[in-house]
């Protein structure tokens, strides 16, 4: 099965779910509604052999509607295929279904997205902050967060000279 054949089969199977697709610099990207993510990912892993999640990341589009994006980079290690899935998350409902039950590697990646953007992954086994202290209030990679941070948001140790 070639990549094109696999993708054609995928398109027919999920013709109702695919919102849009684009190819830029030879990389194929599919856009989905976030509710379809578990079904799509499960199909891709079981039927098309995308057994490896390279990355799961968030972006902030800084728009009024569908502000955040969750992007999945998938690989098929036997055929050396690469595919990108994108789903959009609105600010009013900052949740997205987890894929950590499909690919265990997504566990920490989703925690990172949560840490940086505040997107909650429903069904995630251990959703905590990845990098920042647990009592940190902000989501630093959001566009409105200043690069130099907010003064006093993380205290320095007391007893300085």
């Amino acid at each position: 099965m070639t990549f094109e054949q696999a993708m054609d089969a995928f398109r027919t199977a999920f013709s109702g779910s695919i919102l849009r697709e684009e190819t830029h610099r030879g990389e194929l990207t599919f856009y989905f509604k976030k509710t379809d993510v578990p079904a799509v990912c499960r199909y891709l892993r079981d039927q098309t052999g995308f057994n490896f999640i390279t990355d799961c990341l968030g972006t902030d589009r800084f728009t009024d509607e569908e502000r955040y994006e969750v992007i999945y980079h998938l690989r098929n290690l036997t055929q050396a295929w690469f595919l990108r899935l994108v789903t959009r998350v609105d600010e009013s409902d900052l949740t997205c279904p987890t894929v950590s039950d499909i690919w265990p590697a997504a566990n920490w990646m989703e925690r990172e997205v949560f840490d940086m953007y505040g997107v909650t992954f429903t069904g995630h086994p251990d959703l905590r902050r990845m990098y920042m202290p647990q009592d940190f209030e902000y989501y630093p990679l959001r566009k409105e967060f200043p690069l130099i941070g907010i003064e006093g948001s993380i205290p320095l140790p007391s007893g300085g000279h």
């Binding site: 390279t54 980079h73 690469f82 920490w108 990646m109 990098y131 647990q134 630093p140 990679l141 967060f145």
Partner: protein, 421 residues
Amino acid sequence: MESTMSQPKTTDELLRLLEDEHTFVTLEGSDPLESEMVINMGPSHPATHGVLRIVLKMNGETITRAIPELGYLHRAMEKLAENKSYHEFMPYTDRLDYMMPYSNNVALCLAVEKAAAIEVPERAQWIRTMMCEMARISSHLLWLGTMIMDTGALTVFLHTFRERERIYDIFDLLTGARFTVSHSRIGGLASDISPETIQAIKTFIKQFPAHVQSWEKLLNRNKIFLQRTAGIGYIDGPTATGIGLTGPNLRASGVNWDLRKTHPYLKYTDVNFDVPLSNEGDSLARYEVRMKEFYESVRIVEQCLDKLTTPGPVRADYAKQVYPWKSEVYHTMEGLIHDFMLTDWGVCPEKGQVYQAIESSKGELGFFIQSDGTGHPWRLKIRSPSFVNLQSLPILLEGSQMADTVVIIGSLDPVMGEADK
């Protein structure tokens, strides 16, 4: 201050309690022999290779649960990238995986070049390929020294660092910096390679395999080393794929996956090399795979040296996106204008998203760039191999002995600068 006894409910609470020296953590359930305990390891520990922190739940000497805690070196690389032009972000990539800075520069350049569709001259690509392999050797040298130090032998560290200093000298000759090189430029290189540097690389490459052989002679049949690594930290192929391991760690579990072969970049299609594999999946296998990679890297460098005999340009001649040479900037009007334009506006790749990955010494190092058509990336995501590799630590650690922890971390070869970004 009075000591307090406490029974944590959540992981966060446990992590916080362990930071406080006046609190003792007690474990639930009856444990008459008191053999269960919680041990905090790091973030300042000689064998965690940086500022990694792991909380281990022990039953006697056996690890029953391990929770890695990251973020002690989170430096906001991705946020910084959004506020800088592509060229300005280059020095930051040096500090990502600080065991092999050269490859990181190249990875970023490749990603930007892919986004902006810039063609890089042949000679520059050959130099990049060669120096990436030199960087891989230097990274593996540091890994070897520190991992063997974790198993209890300091001597190998001194041997490997002696060789690493030689590679530093080569980088110094080529780039002017011994460690954080920033030698790659979008569209080429900062400078051409000099005959003196080529000679230095030739000398190094000639002597180096004999050194590796002597280390193998020292270690491969060393009883202590074998007992500390064989069968320790086992992970099978499907689990390793599922948890996202890449690089030598994945290849030690028998999965033949090397981006240099499957998604070739630079000149890896034009050189002959093998991908070392092992089916054992334990710490010893990871050691063996990396030791074999030394020889493969030497092979690639030798082939690159043969291709570098013909002179040619090392930077693309396209002033809209690639910096002109300084001689041009100082002596021509157009050169000065282009230099200003590039510094002020930067490379402006067309709107869209690209992902470019390279096989670094740790695994798949990728840069995802979302461009909005300006000189700054709208979003730049670093797919760092150490971050994902570290995720396998709980699987590797659980069930093994306390003393094996450091060896397992050593065999994974994480770099916290990259894992924490």
